[in-house]
Symmetry: C2
Subunit: 338 residues, 2 copies
DNA sequence: CACAGTAGTGTGAGCGTTCACATCGTATCA
DNA sequence: TGATACGATGTGAACGCTCACACTACTGTG
């Protein structure tokens, strides 16, 4: 296990000190840009650093400073547009502020993802931003209570002690969709729910239900499935066959909505004349379906930015003892499918 | 900067030792599953660990063992299907072997991505897998020479000292496509190239050119653009207007190919009768276009697995001094567009 | 019954870095 | 000219952990 041939030692601060004929502390001062170093010395040290190819060891530094200048980011799947965009946004924000973002994908099988989060902590991150997915509010609360660093949850609106929750305003989104559909004369709405991630899904469902309920005389039916195209197609078919008078379908996400598009094609229903279809997420391919998909878009980059700032200020002033919720306004991107 | 309110100290091995009334070494032995601990002691220590919520500090451990059980993974965009799949695959492989995968997105602006890689190193990773994108072979060679750990490059076939290169066999892929097109009676082929990432692009272009050149009397035209739908559409339009007799288009990736699909629609050309279209990548939405897209798929998970194993064996036996290339067979997924 | 072997445990040192403090030399001022 | 200040540098300790070794008590053996 030791002395692995593949692992070669990198030069340390001591090597640089020897090379430049100064003490390690002087090298440290040069590296951390401390002002009180004589220009000539600084130059000599910088040359030594360049010749040896020295890079300070972040772990050793973190050990003594108790700060790693590193944040963790966890979500189940970076290929997902919203997760991926947010990840990218946080990465950019982090770099601008001298932080490094350690990204990891949550492993469901490892205690719903808690294991992955714990491992992330052992890496010494100064804060964690995460999409909860399968993790319950109780999981998050427990994690925030024991992790010893700021925690930001993105994508679920929940007031959890010591946690900043950043989420899209589901009620506003639901209202945008339902108002739009009613505006188009649609009065019998079907919903394609996601059978995974009960808590996020539930918020969206409750919001839609409430928005529909407040529209006068709008009917509602629901079917759930795995949030992919094929399963969306099946769920939509089931729904349309069970309630043939439906004149609008709302997909939990664009992928399911695209499945609904296919289902309408299968059943020879015209979109949007017979059935209007709306999704969530604003994935690029939604612009290319036939007809292009009307969808709810959220400002992933803006949320990423807010998440980063929340971590930073959590570090400065401590986390909000009673939790804090930041809601983001959704936007309805109206295209041909509605 | 110190004593930040947001950062609370976690218990250390000493706290656990005190709680269980043993020495730190005994706690260490319990944590690392050393056999020579009396069952009763082990139990007492485990209880102390549970009460205190202790987790070993990976950085401190790595500092002394010179092994972090951590690999780095870098690519420009995890939302990209191939990058994302490979990332996921490596993550799974890593977890199975007790490793943690630190994922990061390469920042072009930071010295073409070299800065990001250097930062990754300072985190103490035991090895790095990366998609080179903008990094040249020379960049990679230099990185491998100075990083002191195994390096695996995915997605470009290059024999670089100390680097294992894992890539799809571009010649095989090009042959699959061209043979297929010729088989369908297509003799005038247009290529939509990617204007980014010169080196990867070049390999694909050379392979296609060569495959086309070996087909008797097949004509060729090329246009380049940013590898997205809108730009693919523009490039395809340019190409089809410049060479109206083209009867097939090959997109550098599925996204460009989908742009080509739109261009054909614009120009009222039937696909595949007038123009056949083939892409690369096998993105899920390719199955939903009209007609569905014929495409080259590569085994991302298999490559991820190989990459992980290459890192492990690089650690055991040292990196290959002269470099090593592992080629993966592509598969042609024939759908309606050809 | 002395000797070795071994299971179980503890101790000092050190991984690479920064912090707090000490030391030195030189310039500044009354 | 002596006191004072400050700029430039170096030294010991510590961060949390594991390694190598030392130590103690058994157990078994001839």
């Amino acid at each position: 296990m030791k002395g692995r041939p593949g692992r070669v030692d990198r030069p340390t601060i001591i090597d640089v000190a020897r090379e430049a004929d100064v003490s390690r502390q002087t090298v440290s001062r040069v590296v951390t840009n401390h002002p009180r170093v004589a220009p000539a010395t600084r130059l000599r040290v910088e040359e030594a650093i360049a010749t040896l190819g020295y890079r300070p060891n972040r772990m050793a530094r973190a050990l003594v400073t108790r700060t790693s200048l590193t944040f963790g980011f966890a979500a189940i799947d970076m290929r997902d547009l919203h997760f991926g965009d947010t990840c990218l946004g946080m990465q950019v924000a982090a770099r601008e502020h001298g932080y490094f973002l350690v990204v990891t994908e949550l492993d469901f099988d490892d205690d719903r993802g808690m294991g992955t989060l714990e491992t992330l902590l052992t890496l010494g991150v100064d804060g964690v931003a995460l999409f909860p997915s399968l993790l319950s509010d109780a999981d998050i609360e427990q994690f925030a209570a024991t992790c010893g660093c700021p925690v930001v949850m993105i994508g679920r609106e929940s007031k959890i002690p010591n946690v900043v929750s950043i989420a899209m305003d589901e009620n506003a989104a639901a209202a945008l969709i339902v108002d739009h559909l009613v505006d188009r004369g649609k009065m019998r709405i079907g919903i394609l729910m996601n059978e995974m991630f009960p808590e996020v899904v539930h918020q969206r469902y409750v919001a839609l239900r409430q928005a529909i309920g407040s529209g006068t005389g709008v009917a509602l039916d629901v079917e759930a499935g795995y949030p992919k195209i094929a399963e969306g197609r099946i769920a939509a078919t089931t729904l349309l066959q069970r309630s043939p008078d439906l004149d609008a379908l709302i997909g939990f996400n664009d992928t399911m909505a695209m499945g609904a598009l296919l289902a309408c094609d299968d059943l020879e229903l015209r979109v949007p004349q017979d059935v209007a279809i709306v999704g969530y997420d604003g994935i690029p391919f939604g612009a290319l379906t036939n007809p292009p998909l009307t969808t709810i878009v959220q400002d992933s980059i803006g949320m990423a930015d807010a998440a980063f700032r929340a971590l930073l200020s959590g570090l400065e002033d401590g986390p909000p003892p009673e939790g804090e919720v930041m809601l983001w306004e959704p936007e309805l991107l109206i295209r041909g499918s509605s």
